[in-house]
Structure formats: structure tokens, C-alpha cells
Amino acid sequence: MKNKKASIFGGEQVLFLRLKKHKDKQAFIEAYDLYIDQIHRFVYFKLGNKDEAEDVTSMVFLKCWNYVYEGNLENYDTLKPLLYKIARNTIIDHYRQNKNQEIVSLEAAEETVDEKQDIHEQTITNIDFKELVQEKLPLLKDEYRDVIILRFINELSVSEIAKVLGKTSGNVRVLVHRALQSLQEIINNDETEKK
């Protein structure tokens, strides 16, 4: 599916060159078609909420267009790392905004926590791996969560992840290994507790 899309649009690098050289609006729409699923998936697993994920993903693409329009593509050779970087920053901004909103009312915040606990209990009862991952991912360090989604769900290469996180490939390999170990441990502990 992904390869089919890439071949239709003449490859990621050709698309990127059209954006870099000509700020081609049509090329950006084609890039949207190419990357929307994986960016949405990344945001969705980070936030764990469908509506919020859609809002943040929309914002990511609009912010990315501003980057393209302002000609800030010098340090990239495809659009993908830039989209993920913007997505990570937009998610952080989203967390901050929500945090501020929750401070407004302590009672409302408590209610929100209760609701989350209900959902947590509800999802644990379902032995569905997607929901399990959704439940367990927030328990990981933010960096581990990122590499799990990027490497194993969205299947980015180590070098691509390195560009997104601004780390060396060696560091990313170590991170991936530790993140996977950590997630495995959490899931196995949960299974043991159930038994």
C-alpha cells in the first residue's frame, strides 16, 4: 500500500525536491496523502485519543506547510523526519495546553482522573493487543514510547529515527533495545499479576 502510493507520486525524494525547489502546493497535498496515516498513527498512540489525534495531526501538516513555504528544508532530504519532529513538538504543546486547562478546576481534574481510571480498568479487561499497547505505552519514558512507535509500529529505519530525535544511529539502537525491554517487562508483569 505504502509502496504503491510512493510509486504513484514519483517517490518521496522527488516529492521533497518539488517542495524544496518550487514550494509546490500540489506536491504537499500528495505528501499529505503519503504520510497522513503514519503521522496520525504516531500521534494517536502518543495521545491515546482519536479526536485529539485528528486535531493535532491537522495542525502538524499545516505547520509543516509553513516550514516548506518559508524554505526551511535545508537540513532534510525527505519530508518524513520533519513531519515527525513537528508532530513531537505539537504533542508537547498539546500536553502543556491541556495541563493548563486542568489546573483551572481541581474538581474537574479529579473527575478526569476518575474517568481515565475507569477506561484503564475497562481496557485491561479486554485482551486486545492494541488496547494493551495503548494502555502500557504511557507508562514508558517519553523517549522509549517514541522509538517503539517509530521503529515497530510505523517501521522507520534507525537512521530515520535518528534524524527525528536528533541522535546518532548508535544511540537510537540502544534506545530501541531498552524501550522494547521496558515494554516487554511491563506487559509481562501485568500478565503475571492477572494470573
Partner: protein
């Protein structure tokens, strides 16, 4: 769960796709923002930038003063140029009269004033000729003819007065230094002002020439009258 199983399960999650309806609607919104929004932001900003730059420059005190000064100078120059060719009865003819008076007021040398009056007299005569050529039948009845004739006479009288004053001043300053040249009746004063040194004032002949000009004018021999005026003007160098 083994590491292998975990990776396999995680990999299966890549099939999760966003809602197709949302993708489509969001695509439309994004397209609108890019194709319309970007241009909307771009063009007015450029226009506003240019507008603000121009406004900033124009609102600075020095350019404002310069523009106002230039406006007055240019409007003055244009109106004087246009008025110079104005004929009697035209709105700009008044401006022409004012301009001539201003020139006379701004001139302090009697000889220079005489020369100006000679020039104006020549202009009145040219205007008169033009009016007569335009409507020959109305020659005697056209009020402009009477007006121009009177104006011409007035200019000639003024020339006469100025020349008389110059002569009187020269005699008053130092009669001893006034020498009389037998050939051309030129009166030169060594004590005269620098401007008047070397100026030839031929009082009797000039007065005679002025009388001849007036006679030629009365006879409507404007060509000869103009020639005499030119001759007199040259003598007043």
C-alpha cells in the same frame, strides 16, 4: 510474551489507519489553507509591507516639507509659464500682470526697471496685434484693444520716468565727474553705482526714440514700433 511476539504484535498495529472520512475532509481543509490561505496571507502582507514603507517614508518631516516646497515651486513655475502666453481676457492674464508687477517690485535698479518696462511694452504690442488679427472687424470696438493700448502707453511712460530718474541721479551725485561725449551724447558718471557704470544713457535720443515708438504705435505700425523698442533696449545695456 517473548520479544519476538511483542515485535510481531507491534508490527501488526501499522494497519491501523485514520478514519477515511476525516482524511478526506482534512485534505480539503488543508488544500483550502494552502491554495487560498497561503496566497491570502502572502499578497496582503506584501502589499501592507510596501504600503507601510511608503507611509513611513512619506510621514517623515523632511520629505513632507520637500514635497510641499516642490509642489509650490512647480505650481508657481507652471502657472507663470502658462500665464506668459496668456492673452487678454483669459483667466491667467491676471497672473501675468501680477508676475510683471512682482518683477518690477523686485528690481531696484532704475535702468533695469526701464528695460523691464520696455519688454512689457513690447509684449502689450504683440498682444494687441494678436487680438486685432483674431477679430479684425472688431478692431475699434474690442475693449481689449483699448485696454492694451492704454497699458502700452503706461509702460512707455514708465520707461521715460525711469530714464529721467537715472539722469537726475547722475547729475546730483557729482556734476564735475559727468562727462559729455560729443558723438553719442553718452553721460557717464565715475561715481555712479557699479551697476550703472558703463551703462549708456542717451537721454535726449532715448526720449526721442520713445516718442517715435509712440507715434508708430498710434499709426498702428507695430512692426516698426517693435523694431524701435528693440533698438532702445539694446542701447540700455
Amino acid at each position: 510474551m517473548t520479544e519476538r511476539e511483542l515485535i510481531k504484535n507491534l508490527s501488526a498495529l501499522k494497519n491501523i489507519e485514520a478514519d477515511s472520512t476525516w482524511i478526506k475532509s482534512n485534505r480539503e481543509v488543508l488544500s483550502y489553507q494552502i491554495f487560498n490561505g497561503a496566497e491570502y496571507v502572502d499578497m496582503p502582507l506584501r502589499f501592507m509591507e510596501k504600503f507601510s514603507l511608503i507611509t513611513k517614508r512619506l510621514l517623515q518631516p523632511t520629505p513632507i516639507a520637500a514635497v510641499i516646497a516642490l509642489f509650490f515651486v512647480m505650481s508657481g513655475v507652471v502657472s507663470v509659464r502658462m500665464a506668459k502666453n496668456a492673452a487678454p481676457g483669459e483667466p491667467l492674464y491676471i497672473a501675468k500682470s501680477i508676475s510683471e508687477k512682482a518683477q518690477l517690485v523686485a528690481t531696484f535698479n532704475e535702468t533695469a526697471k526701464a528695460k523691464l518696462n520696455l519688454e512689457f511694452a513690447g509684449q502689450r504690442m504683440a498682444e494687441l496685434e494678436k487680438v486685432i488679427k483674431e477679430e479684425p472687424a472688431k478692431d475699434n470696438n474690442d475693449p481689449r484693444v483699448a485696454e492694451l493700448s492704454a497699458s502700452f502707453k503706461k509702460e512707455i511712460d514708465s520707461v521715460r520716468d525711469h530714464l529721467t530718474k537715472v539722469e537726475a541721479v547722475k547729475k546730483t551725485i557729482n556734476p564735475k565727474t559727468v562727462a559729455k561725449d560729443s558723438k553719442d551724447n553718452t553721460v557717464v558718471s565715475a561715481e555712479a553705482s557699479k551697476e550703472e557704470k558703463g551703462i549708456e544713457i542717451t537721454t535726449p535720443d532715448n526720449q526721442k526714440t520713445l516718442a517715435e515708438v509712440e507715434k508708430l504705435f498710434d499709426d498702428k505700425n507695430y512692426t516698426d514700433a517693435a523694431a524701435k523698442l528693440d533698438e532702445l533696449g539694446k542701447q540700455l545695456k
